[in-house]
């Protein structure tokens, strides 16, 4: 497991996406209304739409290109469409620091 600090919670406008980049990795991160932050691959399984630009409703994001609805908890595309995107664990610590948990071997190692 590879944990990195992404920034402070105040840098996340509510229910809007932000892009996170590291090496070749590009994630879409969202702060939900309940204050939690979610991270998924910034690539819609349909036609590579930038999910960071989607509209966020509770724990779902709607792809800006053709409106696929994706569950931010598990990355599953909702019926009637199907598909999935990779999800990443994110935690916000007591000081509001946003920490992203990358899977091993993903992205560039941060020293």
């Amino acid at each position: 497991m590879n944990e990195v600090i992404v920034g402070h919670i105040s840098e996340f406008p509510e229910r809007s996406g932000r892009v996170f980049r590291m090496g070749t990795l590009e994630l879409a991160m969202f702060k939900l209304s309940d204050g939690t932050v979610k991270a998924i691959d910034n690539l819609c399984p349909h036609k590579q739409g930038k999910l960071s630009e989607g509209i966020v409703c509770d724990h779902h994001v709607f792809c800006p290109l053709h409106d696929r609805k994706i569950n931010l908890h598990d990355g599953l595309v909702q019926a009637p469409d199907d598909g999935c995107v990779e999800t990443y664990r994110v935690e916000v610590d007591g000081g509001g620091i946003v920490i992203l948990f990358l899977k091993d071997g993903l992205g560039t190692k941060v020293s």
Binding site: I5, E11, P13, E14, V56, K69, V110
Partner: protein, 820 residues
């Protein structure tokens, strides 16, 4: 061994008969159906809805290919039966297939009657009968504009309405002086005509067609009086003829249709006919209700079950044109021995006529308000005697309004189980009750999905609802309405009214108070609500960027690769060398891959990375062109009298004034304007949401044009004299559009939906225009340039940058953060 049943015709009557036969006795026959159309059985009635854009071809399939396979039916589609040998009992098709039969059923329907006019064989002259005709019309509308429909009956008017929805200009030619003269009396006809005219339909009444002009393709229609009407498409809807040619050649007795007895038996043993091709007691039918009744009788006969035979059908019709409610049933004309009860209310556009003979209701015509249609139709069929209390039929026992003599519920209770409720789909009361009690349907929508009842013309809806309430009890019925999205059942108007009356000012509040199913809505309702709130309360509602579509949130247009395009405002298409230089420098600095002139007379910088947007805006130092927004886009202008020798007015100045005044305005959908300096119209003002064309001494304003997917020529809104008046009318028009359109509805769709006349009327009076302008001005005063706002606000600006790792999590980093 199974007996062989061969049916010629794969249409509504035939297949419905087979369905009923299979229910009664699934194993008696080996069934072969020959159908000349290359489709499985579909709902012909719904072709009107397909043409009008309310249904898709897929929605109208009644029995799909699997149904035939699952029921072991052999279907020969795209083949026509060409001969019948009644001695040998065989049928042969044009593909050379010969089939032996024990029982033969003709279900060949009708053929449209084509007027034998010279030129009727030209390309572009068609009927309205099948999927192919429907496709031809939809195809034609893409490349041509003018259509003539010959025939002002049910079919002709539905075709005309569909063609209007396809953005064609439609003239309806009718030989009689009354529309739908076979179903309506003069008063109702007149009201219908006025209503349809307000929907944009044009009529040529009492016109006799003489000749169709054109070389290969039709160019128009000449009438007997020598006048001529141009057309790229002519649809003949002048009537139908039973399709009985093959039957006649086979030696069957044929008058108008194939003559059958009360058990649908034709003149040769083992041959039957059902549907529009059949003639029963001297009558042929052109509507579906009788076909189901005939099918049921024939199914019983061929299944070996006793039935009382077929005794004819009382007909009712409903015009399937949205916004128009017309209903007629039975004998509605005044004849000797009949008395009519009439209610005519020109204020609300309502007309009701009920015809009595010896105290019994024999016919009715309803216009405007057809809520009584099911009840009256049942009363006609039940033959109840109203002698001495005829008036109660419309006014209730007190004789003046109030409760109805017989409620729908009473009627439903009195109906027998096998009585057909939905004529279009042949659904009986029993079927509905079964769906409610056994399949658990609790709403009209579920019943429709389950039984197809009310999925056709919709005329039986009140009756289906009444069956639902009597079977379940009123409190058990779930009313499912179509809401603005899946999160609510409320319509646009209900939502907007609620916002205004309860002074709701945030999307959260709306969703909470109006009990949205999804707590934070969806990508459909969120942007819509954000717009409606901003429209209703420009000051109180704070715009919610998170509820806007990607382009409006980033103030740039997203491209398919995730990059954006930047379009600065160039008022009226007039620029300066300085601005051009600045644009050039910016394009070079940010290595913009493509620089292009847009159709709206400005410059598009394409392929920009999101991170670069704020920097570019800053360097450009020009206002946003809103090329991404549901907002005023461009005001296209020609040079007008500034340079052009034809120009009558200063089109450039007019355009710039309009653009400066209305830029940044939020609108339901994008809005494009144009100003031309004379009627040569070089700025193409007549395909814009609002077009201004200069004339000598004034201006013409055109409304609701569109040059997009559905081209629509604008209609003249008004002629005015001064530039101030142009601004005044434009402001009022735009505000009326903002206040009454559905979110994401262009002016062209909106104006047709609410009616061009409604719009004109709303803007007619100076005081109304002033009030609208006061409201739009208030909104305009609050608008700010978004690019500037973002450049000046750090929080807004950094959101355009990507986040990167600030470091790995380790105790030191955590400590360092703590001490901050």
């Amino acid at each position: 061994m199974k007996k062989k049943l061969v049916m010629i015709g794969n249409g509504m009557a035939g297949v419905s008969f087979v369905e009923q036969l299979l229910k009664l006795n699934p194993n008696r026959y080996e069934i072969v159906i020959i159908g000349s159309e290359p489709h499985p059985n579909y709902n012909r009635i719904m072709l009107s809805s397909v043409l009008a854009g309310d249904a898709s071809m897929k929605d109208i399939i009644l029995n799909d290919w699997n149904w035939y396979r699952d029921n072991g039916i052999q279907l020969l589609t795209g083949q026509e039966a060409v001969s019948v040998d009644a001695e040998e009992r065989t049928v042969t098709t044009n593909a050379g297939v010969t089939l032996a039969y024990d029982e033969l059923v003709f279900a060949t329907g009708s053929v449209p009657f084509m007027l034998p006019l010279p030129g009727a064989d030209k390309e572009g002259v068609i009927a309205f009968r099948d999927i192919k005709d429907c496709e031809t019309m939809m195809e034609t509308s893409k490349n041509y504009r003018k259509a003539i429909v010959i025939g002002g009956g049910l079919l002709g008017l539905e075709a005309a309405r569909g063609l209007i929805n396809l953005n064609m200009e439609v003239a309806v030619v009718h030989i009689n002086k009354n529309l739908m003269n076979l179903q309506l009396d003069e008063t109702a006809s007149r009201m219908l005509k006025a209503e349809l005219e307000s929907q944009g339909m044009r009529f040529l009444m009492e016109h006799k067609s003489a000749r169709i002009t054109g070389k290969e393709r039709v160019t128009g229609l000449t009438f007997e009086d020598g006048t001529h009407e141009a057309a790229d498409l002519i649809v003949m809807a002048v009537g139908i003829r039973p399709n009985a040619r093959l039957a006649k050649e086979s030696g069957l007795e044929v008058n108008r249709g194939i003559v059958v007895d009360d058990h649908l038996q034709a003149s040769i043993p083992n041959i039957h006919a059902v549907g529009e091709c059949a003639e029963h007691r001297g009558l042929t039918y052109g509507l579906v209700a009788p076909l189901y009744e005939q099918g049921a009788v024939l199914a019983k006969k061929l299944a070996g079950v006793d039935s009382g035979g077929y005794h004819g059908t009382v007909l009712s019709t409903k015009l399937k044109v949205s916004g128009v409610n017309v209903f007629s049933a039975g004998r509605y004309t005044d004849e000797p021995g009949t008395k009519a009860l009439r209610v005519q209310d020109d204020l609300d556009g309502v007309y009701k006529k009920v015809v009595f003979e010896n105290g019994k209701i024999i016919g009715t015509v309803l216009f405007g308000d057809t809520s009584d249609s099911s009840r009256l139709f049942s009363l006609i069929r039940s033959g109840q005697d109203f002698t001495g209390k005829e008036k109660e039929v419309l006014f209730g026992p007190s004789g003046g309004g109030g409760s109805k003599t017989l409620s729908m519920e009473d009627l439903v209770t009195a109906m027998s189980g096998d009585e057909i409720v939905c004529g279009c789909n042949g659904v009986t009361k029993d079927t509905l009750v079964e769906a409610i009690t056994e399949k658990g349907c609790v709403s009209l929508g579920e019943l429709k999905a389950c039984t197809k009842a009310s999925a056709g013309c919709g005329g039986c809806k009140p009756l289906v609802e009444a069956i639902l309430t009597t079977t379940l009890g009123a409190d058990q019925v779930t009313k499912v309405k179509e809401g603005i999205c899946g999160c609510t059942t409320m319509s646009r108007d209900e939502v907007v009214n609620a916002i205004q009356q309860m002074r709701l000012t945030t999307t959260k509040e709306v969703m909470h108070v109006l009990e949205w199913h999804n707590p934070e809505g969806c990508s459909k309702c969120r942007p819509a609500l954000n717009y409606y709130l901003g429209m209703a309360f420009p000051e109180e509602h704070g715009d919610e960027p998170e509820s806007r579509f990607v382009n409006e949130r980033n103030h740039a247009n997203i491209q398919k690769d995730g990059t954006f395009s930047v379009v600065p405002r160039i008022y009226g298409g007039v620029t300066t060398p300085e601005d051009l230089k600045r644009i050039a420098i910016v394009a070079e600095k940010y290595q913009v891959p493509l620089v292009k002139f847009t159709g709206g007379q400005r410059i598009d910088l394409l392929g920009v990375k999101k991170e670069d947007l704020p920097g570019m805006w800053k360097d450009l130092d020009m206002p946003s062109g809103y090329a991404y927004g549901k907002s005023l886009r461009t005001v296209k202008t020609c040079v007008g009298n500034t340079f052009c020798r034809f120009g009558t007015q200063d089109a450039i100045k007019m355009g710039i004034d309009l653009e400066k005044k209305f830029e940044r305005l939020d609108t339901p959908h994008k809005v494009k304007l144009a100003v031309s300096g004379c009627p040569r119209n070089c700025a193409e003002a007549t395909i814009k949401d609002l077009g201004v064309v200069a004339i000598d001494g004034g201006w013409e304003l055109y409304m609701a044009g569109n040059g997009g997917t559905r081209v629509r020529a604008a209609d003249l809104l008004v002629k005015v004299k001064t530039e101030e008046e142009v601004l005044e009318w434009t402001g009022a028009y735009l505000q009326y559009y903002r206040e009454t359109a559905n979110y994401l509805e262009r002016t062209s769709e909106w104006a047709v939906r609410v009616g061009l006349d409604t719009v004109k009327k709303a803007l007619e009076k100076k005081e109304d225009r002033d009030a609208l302008n006061a409201r739009i001005d208030k909104t305009l005063d609050l608008m700010q340039d978004p690019w500037k706002q973002i450049i000046e606000n750090d929080d807004l600006r950094v959101a355009f940058d990507a986040l990167t790792a600030k470091g790995a999590v380790n105790p030191e980093a955590a400590a360092a953060n703590e001490s901050k």
